[in-house]
Amino acid sequence: MGEKEKTKIMFVMRKPPHGSIYAYEGLEAILIMGAYEQEISVVFIDDGVFALKREQDTKPLGVKEFSKTFAALEDYDITNIYTDKESLETRGLTVDDLIIKPKVLEASEIAKMMEEQQVLLPF
């Protein structure tokens, strides 16, 4: 009673890591918003699934490796993490290739979830 309803915020991660900063700055935004006790979810579609690829080694490139921080999202109480079946298949990946085990959904199920959000953030 009197408590404000939580806002449903979904991060839609479509960009691959390292080639551009969107995946990384998107992650920074997820971590901050995670502290605001809203209803956060994160979905990885298209090239966004590459952000979760296992065995990323950025040392030779000299840039930050941040896939492990995606793996730590649970520690920030962000547990609604999804990915798209066809995006994985197109890229020759299965959920076993990923550092975490997001729930694998059909595009139509993801579309339905997107529809239910109040805020969609593209990264």
Partner: protein
Amino acid sequence: MKFGILIQDGPYNHEAADSAYNFIQAALERGHTIQGIFFYNDGVINATKLMEPPQDDRNISKRWSDLGAKGIDIIVCVAAAKRRGINEDVLIPNARISGLGQLTEIAIESDRLITFGS
């Protein structure tokens, strides 16, 4: 309605800043409120007062500053700004540098959040 605006790309190089501006103008004319304009990623470059476009071209940072003068909250992400060399010394008038918490608040308080980028 209350609209929040997120801008992810820099001025001139991509059309995103123009589209966002045109959208905001139309929203204001339709009687909506702009809850805040948040510059993230390369979007922070919109907020430098050192911009000197050719005389016959639009001045994109001045557009944002003018919206700020009308009372719209113009916020530049501090972490993104530091990476790209935007700080208080070069910030346009009527804008402020702050954290991603401000984007969160815009997201929570707005009826719609619309993102412009590339």
